[in-house]
Subunit: 387 residues, 2 copies
Amino acid sequence: MAMMNLKRAATSAIRAFPAAGSSTGALARHLHGSAGESKKIVGVFYKANEYAEKNPNFLGCAENALGIRSWLESQGHQYIVTDDKDGPNSELEKHIPDLHVLISTPFHPAYVTAERIKKAKNLQLLLTAGIGSDHIDLPAAAAAGLTVAEVTGSNVVSVAEDELMRILILMRNFLPGYHQVINGEWDVAGIAYRAYDLEGKTIGTVGCGRIGKLLLQRLKPFGCNLLYHDRLKIEPELESQIGAKFEEDLDAMLPKCDVVVINTPLTEKTKGMFDKDRISKMKKGVLIVNNARGAIMDTQAVVDGCSSGQIGGYSGDVWYPQPAPKDHPWRYMPNQAMTPHISGTTIDAQLRYAAGVKDMLDRYFKGEDFPAQNYIVKEGQLASQYK
Amino acid sequence: MAMMNLKRAATSAIRAFPAAGSSTGALARHLHGSAGESKKIVGVFYKANEYAEKNPNFLGCAENALGIRSWLESQGHQYIVTDDKDGPNSELEKHIPDLHVLISTPFHPAYVTAERIKKAKNLQLLLTAGIGSDHIDLPAAAAAGLTVAEVTGSNVVSVAEDELMRILILMRNFLPGYHQVINGEWDVAGIAYRAYDLEGKTIGTVGCGRIGKLLLQRLKPFGCNLLYHDRLKIEPELESQIGAKFEEDLDAMLPKCDVVVINTPLTEKTKGMFDKDRISKMKKGVLIVNNARGAIMDTQAVVDGCSSGQIGGYSGDVWYPQPAPKDHPWRYMPNQAMTPHISGTTIDAQLRYAAGVKDMLDRYFKGEDFPAQNYIVKEGQLASQYK
């Protein structure tokens, strides 16, 4: 790994100091540290068009570009922003050979493949404006000595709130009622026969990191039976404050749950983990909320489960791929309450992740380390949750 | 009032004992107490049609009739159930002259006017399967010596949960995302430019009875600024536990609120209280959730507010009248997240109010008092919250 770092440093024209003889730690700082040099920074964000000017705090779109353009340009850096990210003729592809920093978001992911990493000879830093990096080939990024970082924590409250909203929407059968309203109808029975209170139900979270914990804290006053599965138990004080119960064995927890919420990152281990077999072992009519990543589910198994009633409702904002194509079957399956990938890009979250990206760029220019929790790949090593 | 009670008792063929000489309290018990006599009980519920058999716990529909038919009939009572409630040729109207008990719900209200009360010579008891009695002319019912009661508490958790769902749906701008999904679109910007986290926002409840308190308790972990307006402060211990602030002056509270939730009954004082003038003094873009009663709002003022952007979003399940006609303007105004009247008729709530109605009928047959909090009109007097 250290060799790969050296290789990357050697092929990079922009490092401030020779890497030879440096420790790995010092090298990482060298990669970050190049005070006074002009960098080419590319940001890939979703286009807002007519919405860009509707809200001065709408920083996360391509037009408003995190609100850091004048700050970057005043320091002599070049800042290219585009939403055109896919294929060999895309705007992003043009800049791959000479960009130093790529900023992207999970909402409109710029896929950073091994091939693109190979072409990006100057690339040093991959920043996620938000959380998550599964649009990046992390092993390839690590092997190439890149630094990959996100604004850890910037979306956790947003996503936890959104999950609770989706649990309530499914449990209380909101959407059929809304459809009646806009269609000029009124049929309370057609809603009520499958509308329930959340109180007294069993909710299980698969994964209990920061988002899972915030969700459980918000669920606490609802009087539910709260379960969580993760590799480790949460802090005893928090566990007893929330009143949640640790379930070591996922497949023992799932059949107990009226609602299952996915709060685990997409990794080789979690990819497709909710397949036909696992879904069939869940409670009949289970409600599933997934704001984690679409590919954690087997796409067709979810469609089949919703069609048969084995899944009573499915809601989430993540799809595979993204943007979801017009014919993605989750758009048209029964009892879905889906949206585009949105939960972590509220205006409040945008303000947080724009500030977080600016802070990391500032540290990068000054040769300083990032907040430790932000690193996904540092010095050729993946953060533990991605292994 | 005592005279009216005597009049009612005198014209009623079914009382067990002569009323003359009784105190009002004793009279009320006489009206309730007629052990062993056959009563004619009419229930007015919404029709479920094909949904009636889809869930064995779907007790609140006309077909399943609270699940008390065999219990009533085994005791020799007559039990007529219908959904046909309006107009001189309706099924309900046919039974008005000789029914003893009328059970109705707020979800499909049987309007009990002064005229109907006058025609209902045998009527003694008006029960709401659920909460609320604004479909009943309460002064006329009181003057006629009727007892009016509801299953207090049966819907409070259901409605509080539903309110929190609606707050999140509006704040996070859920519906535009859902529409994109079903329309084959993907435009994150079109959602995100007006999507916010609930955290840090100011939420005010107008009225803070049982539902308002349950809502505030559920909002507590969201980290909001919580305000409430009511005639009286809530218990100091609960107030400090929730961290909510009392606002004595409604019009001083409203301009502070990002979200206003209506939790006050419909009375002569609250009817139309949210009119053009009051709405204009609220924060621009305020979100309003109203699961209390539709007539608390000025219908057109809400439409105008949503159209101009003065109201950023309006959600609720109550309308005036109900069922809402096909051309009710709230169906078609921008940024609405409405449903038919549904929040208090989840399956869980149905089980609670069916049990509560059965309990009150049982006490009525035995000549026993109801739980004190259930009374809306007792012995010619309105409960204090309806005065």
